[in-house]
Assembly symmetry: C2
Homo-oligomer: 154 residues x 2
DNA sequence: AGCGATTAAATTGTGCACAATGTAAAAGAT
DNA sequence: ATCTTTTACATTGTGCACAATTTAATCGCT
């Protein structure tokens, strides 16, 4: 009811640093949630979740990786990856094997079925880009900025 | 086979639509996770999680809202909000009351303590913006694009 | 060789995010 | 007025994300 404490008398609009509409963080949070929902529709027929799909992207690029290498690529720790990788193993897409040379390590390898899944996923990015309803140029610029944001000074 | 216009530096390589580095979705996912981590450091002393903070932003802007109104503002359903709001109630920041006029509805009201929390949070956005290490202009443009992405054709 | 420090992954516990379902109240239809 | 439909929220179950801790293996140092 009362005007903002720091508002000069009846100024047009005192800037509110906590207004939801001003938060980059909320825009980022809401956009990420929405895009994950878009992917869910595409991935559900394949029986994959979004983080599982990202994990497969990493392995399709280079197979036979350590848990830590996958985690490095995705910025995820073993607390997230271990159960996820166990589910991918149960689904028959990867195999987890203790490294004989260093028993602390666990190697992640794609099965034939895991490699075959790639063909079923190859059209997904284009379909999602289409659903986003923004010009390609904007999406490319956006990805650039977000990558900087994600990798900066960690 | 044709080299993508947006990847001039590796024009020799065939474009891989599933390469992790090409995924806007991954950039978005990683950026969102990183920003939430930045907030976690700021919010931990206040005893708040990031979605709880977003919920308070909504209520600080306008108090005495229905669960559904909060959910509308944040694009979250009751499955997420009900337990979150119960935790905010346990923390003494909000009160949940059944609407007497319509018993289906639950009104969310800030407590004195909930309103007081605002003063402790008011500096957070500026500190985060600083930590992001990108020029303000870029951040403003980014928020604009993300908002479009989040709200488009849902 | 012996041993503390480091490393790799797993485990435990909390809190989202969401699909699916349930419950009860209110609104509409006949 | 009774019955169907819709609405608002709660509940259940799955799967992340991450902090904190644990376990076990390897490394580094003397």
């Amino acid at each position: 009811m009362t005007p903002e404490p720091d508002a000069p008398e009846n100024a047009a609009k005192p800037f509110d640093p906590l207004a939801l509409d001003h938060q980059l963080c909320f825009a980022l949070y809401a956009a990420a949630n929405r895009v994950i929902r878009l992917y869910r529709d595409q991935l559900e027929p394949l029986g994959l979740t979004y983080p599982q799909y990202l994990t497969l992207l990493v392995l399709w690029e280079r197979d036979d990786r350590l848990v830590g290498e996958v985690g490095e690529a995705l910025s995820l720790d073993s607390g997230t990856l271990t159960p996820l990788l166990k589910r991918l193993e149960t689904a028959g897409l990867v195999i987890r094997t203790r490294d004989a040379a260093d028993e602390r390590r666990v190697r992640i390898t794609l099965t034939k079925q895991g490699r075959a899944m790639r063909a079923k996923a190859v059209d997904i990015p284009a379909r999602i880009a289409c659903e986003m309803g923004l010009p390609l140029e904007t999406l490319v610029q956006l990805k650039q900025t977000l990558t900087t944001l994600a990798t900066d000074q960690d």
